[in-house]
Assembly symmetry: C2
Homo-oligomer: 99 residues x 2
């Protein structure tokens, strides 16, 4: 599995919908950049079981985005903020969408 | 339990994060306006068990809003759209936040 860091942004948005275990696993792999084998050594289980578990978290994150679209809406709002000449409005939009 | 219809808006936002059962229960009570006893008659179980289950769904919806804040952000963005004199920006914001 190539590490596709696009999931890091989805993780930042939806992490509190995950279980502790799922958060820990995702952080180990993507944020602390451990390998699947390293995680398997620490957590127990095989490299394959860690692979499957990480994949499951990624599917969850994609599902959340499909349902709620927070990432996509945020991007579109950033674009609106960058296009408007009304500076107060741009600032207001950015304040709302920033986490 | 008084029927507090403020949850209907949260339900519209977060319903696809609920289970089928939770969605069905919430819809019966809030959208089809059945009583707890009527739901208990249809679903089986007691009035109390239906009460508890509906309460659990409401807690879930509140948790989702606390984590993601989609309702609050939408309200704030509606306000920004209503205040700006830039009509294109107002329209763009409304298009993004409307479901």
């Amino acid at each position: 599995m190539e590490k596709d860091f696009e999931y890091v942004e989805l993780f930042e948005i939806y992490k509190d919908l995950l279980t502790d275990k799922q958060r820990e696993l995702f952080s180990s792999y993507y944020l602390f950049d451990l390998s699947l084998s390293e995680i398997a050594d620490v957590e127990g289980g095989s490299r394959q079981s860690v692979y499957d578990a990480v994949k499951k978290v990624k599917i969850k994150l994609s599902e959340y985005e499909k349902i709620l679209g927070v990432q996509e809406k945020t991007k579109r709002l950033e674009e609106v903020a960058s296009l408007t000449k009304d500076e107060n409005t741009a600032r207001a939009i950015r304040e709302i969408i920033e986490r």
